[in-house]
Amino acid sequence: MKISAIITLKKDVLDPQGKAVHQALNGIGFDSVKSIRQGKYFEIEIDEKDKKIAEQKAEEMCKKLLANLVIEDYKIIEK
């Protein structure tokens, strides 16, 4: 089974990378871009049959390693 997780910086956490990408996009003509926040995307292939268990495990992975909850939020997405 495949599960995905998206990790994003919390709203009030500074994102200089996103800011730099935003400026670069403006620089090549995408004037209407108002802001960019950069995050991470994980595709997790997991050997589980039960979707609920797989999601629970993905959540645990986010809490224990994939995300740092001091600065980041996570979201589990089914495939």
């Binding site: 956490v13 500074l14 200089p16 990378q17 730099a20 390693l65 740092n68 001091v70 600065i71």
Partner: protein, 227 residues
Amino acid sequence: MNSSVIIFPGSNCDRDMDVALKKFGFKNQMIWHNDSELPKSDLVVLPGGFSYGDYLRCGSMASKSKIIDSVIKFAKSGGLLLGICNGFQILTETKLLPGALLRNKYSKFICKNVFVKINNSENKYFKNLKKNVLELHIAHNEGNFFCSNDQMREIEDNNQIAINYCDQKGQVEDNFNPNGAIKNIAGIFNKQKNILGMMPHPERMIDNYLSGEDGSFFFQNLINNLK
């Protein structure tokens, strides 16, 4: 006094730290991250560098390595645990220290000398130190200390701020903040003050001819306090 420096794949200040510790009288041992036992130590150091290539987040992979359980056990029983630069990042990732280290505010890797003011001297690291302001070296891309408001309240209530970026005279102001860290924080303690994480590298300031001597004061004072 016995010390241990942990080597992770990608550590690059481990040998500088070894030289510094030995110069001031520590009997130092280098410990590989994949070992599970720490030798008997009065001080354990997590050195600077780029453990695991800074993959995922700086310090995140190292915080899950095999030796870390023993390091946590050592620190929780009151042992002195010092994390420099990447070591500081590892300490926040293990949650032994609060907060996190974000990318520098101005998107630049910073490599320069800075001054830091000692904010709390009631601990083994800074007690009896002759100087209140130290000139040390920083070299990092992720040194922007960040924490939630609740964490900051706790940090301040427990007097956990160890050092702040400042000018030569010890004035802590925005102008002297190299990376955007909250309240110019360059280093913090845990509540009990036996764990210290800091971005500046004292081990790079142990030779007056090459760099400076403020790191020498730090290490000399530390071993004196441990005797």
